[in-house]
C-alpha cells in the first residue's frame, strides 16, 4: 500500500508532464521510458517535480533508480515517509 501510493504519485507527476500520453499502459515493473514517450527533458522534470512537491533531493547518480515504477517506489520510500505513513 505504501509503495502503491508512491507509484501513484510518480504516475501523477508523469501525467502532469505529458498530459497527452496514455498512462494506462504503464506496469509496475515495465521500463517507464519504453512504456511512455518521455524524452530526457521530460525525465528530468520528474526529478524536479519530486523536489517541488515532496522536497525530495535526487542526486544525478541516483537517476538510474527511476527505471521502473517499482524501482522508483523502492528508492523513494525511505525519502517519502510522509506519504507512506
Amino acid at each position: 500500500m505504501n509503495k502503491e501510493l508512491i507509484r501513484q504519485e510518480v504516475k501523477d507527476i508523469i501525467a502532469a508532464i505529458v498530459p497527452d500520453e496514455d498512462l494506462s499502459v504503464m506496469t509496475n515493473s515495465g521500463i517507464i521510458r519504453e512504456e511512455v514517450n518521455l524524452d530526457s527533458m521530460d525525465f528530468l522534470d520528474i526529478i524536479m517535480e519530486l523536489r517541488k512537491r515532496h522536497k525530495v533531493e535526487v542526486p544525478e547518480e541516483d537517476y538510474k533508480f527511476f527505471a521502473t515504477l517499482d524501482s522508483c517506489a523502492d528508492y523513494l520510500a525511505p525519502k517519502m515517509t510522509h506519504l507512506t505513513h
Binding site: 508532464i17 497527452d20 524524452d39 521530460d42 522534470d45 517541488k52
Partner: protein
C-alpha cells in the same frame, strides 16, 4: 546569509526571458525579470499607433506542429511550460513563395509542395535536393557544436545549382542568420526543419497572444516582472551570485543572473571587453502598409514572399541605408484563420545599414524621417515585379529602422539575430552569469523560448 534577494534575476522580458522565468517560477524559485522598456517582448514585441495594433519581429511562428504531435521543438516547449496547444491559437500559413528572377519555389507546411516545386523548376537537381532533405532529417541538432561549419560549403558539395542553393538559403537566412552570406551548418539544419519541414503559423492576435500567454503563465506561477527598469551593471560577487545595479542606483542581489540582453551587451554590463566582430552585422528596416482591401482581393495571396531581384542572393550588411535587391513581404491576413483581421496589412522587410541610419537620426530627425519616406517610395517601386500594384490602396504606413530597434531593445546596431559567435553553453566567463536567447544559438520565437528553458534547466534547476 549573503543578502541575495532572488534565486535568479533575468535581464529582458523577451521570449527567452519568459521561457527561463516560467521554468524557474514553476519550480518555486524566487525570480524577477527586469525589462528596460515599458512593454515586454524584446525583439518580438508590439506597439500601438493611430489606433492600430502592430507587431515587431514576428512575421510568423516557425516550427509549426499539429495538435497532438509529440516530438519537435514546439511540443517540447508545451510540455516544459505545461501549456496546451490551444493556448497559442495557431493558424497555419496558406502558401509561401521564394521568388528569384525567372524562378520561383512554392512551399507550405507540407513538404511535398516544396518538393514538387523543385521538381518543376530544377528537375535535374531534384535528387540532390532530396539528398539534402535526408541529410537534414538525419542530423542531430540537439547539441550545439562549438565549431562553425559552413552550410554553404556543405550545400555546394550536394547541390550542383548555385541558384537553387541561394533560393534555399534565402528564407532561412532572412529568418535567422547572424552570419553574413553563410550559416553554421547546425543552425542551417535547425532553420531548414523549422521553415520547410514544420512551417509557419500565426496566432489570430499575433505576437500579443503569445506574450500575454507567457506573461500570465509566469505571473500566475509567482514570477515577478519590473518594466521600465534598466540594468546598468552586473557585478559577480566573490562569495557567489551577482549584484545587479539599476539605472536609478538600486542594487539587487541574485544567486544567478540570466541575461537575454545579447552577448556583447551582457559583456558590456559585466565590464568585460568584447570584439567588434561579436556585434551582429545584420539588421533590417520594416515598412508596414495598412490597406483598404484585403491582400487577397489585390491578388496577393502568398503568406510570405521571399524575393531577390538578382540570381545570386546577397545576404550581407547593406552598403547603403537599405538594400532593395532582396526582401520579405508578409501578410498577416494570409493565414488559414477563420476570423478575418480588421484590416489588410502587408509587412515589407529589407536588409539595412544600422550605422548609416543611426548617424542620420543623430544628425537630424527631420532628415531621418525624410529618408524613411523616400525609402517607402523606392520599396513600392521594387515590389512592382514581385506583387500586383497596391499603392492606391494604402491607408496608413509605418516604418522602423535599425535605429528604432536599437532604441527599444538595446541591441547594439539593432542586430536582431545577435552575434555570429553563438555560445551554446550560455557561459560567458563570469561565474553565476549566463546568457540566453538568440546569442545562445537558438533561432526565432520557438528557438528563443527553448533557449530560455534550456538555460534555466541547466544553470539554475538541475
Amino acid at each position: 546569509m549573503p543578502n541575495q534577494t532572488y534565486d535568479a534575476i533575468i535581464i529582458g522580458a523577451g521570449m527567452s526571458g519568459f521561457g527561463a522565468g516560467i521554468r524557474l517560477a514553476m519550480f518555486d524559485k524566487k525570480v524577477c525579470i527586469l525589462e528596460q522598456h515599458s512593454v515586454w517582448g524584446g525583439l518580438n514585441s508590439f506597439y500601438q499607433q493611430a489606433g492600430r495594433q502592430f507587431d515587431v519581429g514576428l512575421h510568423a511562428l516557425t516550427n509549426y506542429s499539429a495538435k497532438g504531435s509529440k516530438r519537435g521543438p514546439f511540443p517540447t516547449i508545451l510540455r516544459q511550460l505545461r501549456l496546451k496547444w490551444e493556448d497559442f491559437d495557431l493558424h497555419e500559413q496558406n502558401q509561401s513563395v521564394i521568388k528569384f528572377p525567372n524562378h520561383r519555389l512554392h512551399f507550405s507546411n507540407n513538404l511535398e509542395v516544396l518538393i514538387s516545386s523543385v521538381k518543376e523548376q530544377f528537375p535535374e537537381h531534384l535528387d540532390q535536393f532530396l539528398d539534402l532533405c535526408s541529410l537534414v532529417r538525419d542530423h542531430d541538432d540537439g547539441t550545439l557544436p562549438a565549431e562553425f561549419v559552413s552550410a554553404r560549403q556543405r550545400l555546394l558539395a550536394i547541390i550542383a545549382s548555385p541558384l537553387l542553393i541561394d533560393m534555399i538559403f534565402c528564407p532561412l537566412m532572412f529568418y535567422g542568420s547572424a552570419t553574413e552570406h553563410d550559416m553554421d551548418w547546425n543552425q542551417f539544419v535547425i532553420m531548414f526543419k523549422a521553415v520547410f519541414f514544420e512551417g509557419f503559423s500565426r496566432p489570430h492576435a499575433g505576437v500579443r497572444k503569445i506574450l500575454s500567454l507567457l506573461r500570465k503563465t509566469y505571473v500566475d506561477r509567482g514570477g515577478e516582472i519590473r518594466t521600465k527598469t534598466s540594468v546598468i551593471a552586473i557585478v559577480p560577487q566573490a562569495s557567489g551570485g551577482a549584484k545587479v545595479i539599476l539605472e536609478n542606483g538600486e542594487e539587487i542581489f541574485a544567486a544567478k543572473v540570466i541575461s537575454c540582453a545579447g552577448l556583447p551587451e551582457t559583456k558590456s554590463l559585466l565590464g568585460l571587453p568584447f570584439e567588434a566582430s561579436e556585434i551582429g552585422a545584420m539588421s533590417f528596416v520594416e515598412t508596414i502598409f495598412c490597406l483598404d482591401k484585403m491582400p487577397k482581393e489585390l491578388d496577393i495571396s502568398s503568406t510570405i514572399t521571399f524575393f531577390s531581384h538578382n540570381t545570386n542572393f546577397k545576404y550581407q550588411r547593406s552598403q547603403d541605408l537599405v538594400d532593395y535587391s532582396s526582401g520579405i513581404l508578409c501578410s498577416p491576413n494570409n493565414f488559414n484563420d477563420p476570423t478575418p483581421l480588421n484590416e489588410g496589412m502587408l509587412r515589407l522587410t529589407h536588409i539595412a545599414n544600422p550605422k548609416l541610419w543611426k548617424k542620420l537620426r543623430s544628425q537630424s530627425l527631420e532628415k531621418y524621417n525624410e529618408q524613411k519616406q523616400a525609402m517607402v517610395a523606392l520599396e513600392l517601386e521594387g515590389l512592382k515585379s514581385i506583387v500586383p500594384e497596391f499603392s492606391k490602396n494604402i491607408k496608413y504606413v509605418d516604418t522602423f529602422t535599425p535605429a528604432t530597434i536599437e532604441r527599444f531593445t538595446r541591441r547594439i546596431d539593432g542586430a536582431v539575430y545577435g552575434t555570429p559567435q553563438k555560445i551554446g553553453s550560455g557561459e560567458i566567463g563570469a561565474k553565476d552569469v549566463y546568457i540566453c536567447g538568440t546569442d545562445q544559438g537558438y533561432l526565432g520565437i520557438i528557438g528563443s523560448l527553448l533557449s530560455g528553458i534550456l538555460m534555466a534547466n541547466r544553470h539554475t534547476l538541475v
